[in-house]
């Protein structure tokens, strides 16, 4: 969160505040940490990546004269012998939102420099993410088992498989990278690197709890993308 108490630049709401911030010297985003600003801009760029994927998907699906498979049937899962539509996807969404919640609270405790709570919550988030990736692997293997391939599928338009594997694969890669970093950061929190300002191994930068918020932004973004994929790919 931006700091509202910067000398000469107290938070002003609305466009007037924006104009004042923009016209000021030194920084445009008042009180925003460099790393956080970087993550925001990166996420903006990444939004364009996912947008381009989803737009391609829209155009591919819209312009094919062949029948598009009904996702609600393709992604159904047998529970006690009854096929439940989108069961796995619903659970995956549940898991990802859970992990997003724990992350949000981890960020809060990070700001309060509450090492224990922050660490446990980051760890919980990591485990949630890992569960998500595992379930996605299960879903992929199930579909592959059913004969869905990137180049063909038994249900209809071949683009279905192509877009499915590409988009969920790209999203899954993002989740996996996030999980790796979550584990690393959980370790760093527990080891107290953010309390002592210990320098990172690679970047040799001083540790600070703001890194948890930066990681949190990334993690929420992954969740955000899932919201769109869920709506456009599974429900549409």
């Amino acid at each position: 969160m931006s700091d509202p108490n910067i000398q000469g630049y107290e938070l002003k709401p609305g466009f007037r505040g924006m104009a004042k911030d923009t016209g000021s010297d030194q920084t445009m985003f008042k009180g925003v940490h460099w790393g956080k600003a970087m993550m925001w801009i990166f996420l903006l760029s990444d939004t364009f990546v996912f947008s381009c994927f989803l737009i391609s998907y829209m155009k591919g699906r819209g312009s094919t004269p062949e029948e598009w498979p009904n996702p609600s049937e393709v992604f159904a899962l047998d529970a006690f012998g009854v096929p439940v539509p989108l069961l796995l996807i619903a659970i995956m969404t549940f898991v990802l939102i859970t992990s997003s919640g724990t992350m949000a609270i981890a960020v809060k405790y990070g700001y309060e420099k509450n090492r224990k709570m922050c660490g446990w919550l980051v760890l919980a988030t990591a485990i949630g993410g890992l569960t998500f990736v595992g379930m996605q692997a299960f879903e992929w293997s199930k579909l592959i088992h059913e004969g869905v391939r990137p180049w063909e599928n038994p249900f209809g338009a071949p683009q279905f498989g192509s877009f499915f594997f590409m988009i969920t694969g790209f999203h899954g890669t993002h989740v996996s990278i996030g999980v790796i970093f979550l584990f690393i950061y959980a370790y760093k929190v527990f080891a107290g690197h953010y309390d002592t300002g210990k320098r990172g191994w690679f970047t040799s930068m001083k540790g600070d709890y703001v890194e948890i918020e930066i990681l949190g932004l990334y993690w929420h973004f992954v969740d955000l993308v899932w919201v769109f994929i869920f709506a456009f790919f599974y429900l549409w």
């Binding site: 931006s2 790393g35 925001w40 155009k59 312009s63 619903a90 919201v227």
Partner: protein, 112 residues
């Protein structure tokens, strides 16, 4: 990383309640959007419900979990304005795929 804000003693943490609230809301909304599929709504109702829940969820995540609601307007605007380019892209690609589908059906299937 490189620098630490000198006034880091947080003026800006929030009560845990707000996060729990949003968290709960997200679950409820996800449940609703799942129900859209469960009850097999069709047509315009389905699309509008899906989009409505999607944007609501996305908005909540961005506004509260990603703290955009509490950020200054400069950051918020920098992040949201580029989306007009995406909106334009989407809009034009809709026109494009409709034209392409029409051409394909007209020249390869229907004829005349």
């Amino acid at each position: 990383m490189t620098e630490t804000n000198n006034n880091k003693e947080q003026a800006s943490t929030h009560k845990i309640g707000i996060y729990l609230w949003i968290w709960g809301l997200l679950f409820v909304l996800s449940f609703f959007s799942y129900m859209v599929d469960w009850y097999q709504f069709q047509g315009i109702l389905r699309w509008s419900l899906i989009l409505f829940f999607m944007f609501l969820k996305a908005g909540l995540i961005m506004a509260f979990f990603m703290h955009l609601f509490w950020e200054r307007y400069a950051l918020v605007n920098v992040l949201l304005w580029p989306m007009t380019a995406i909106a334009c892209f989407i809009f034009l690609m809709v026109a494009e795929f409709e034209y392409l589908l029409f051409s394909r059906l007209f020249y390869f299937v229907v004829g005349g």
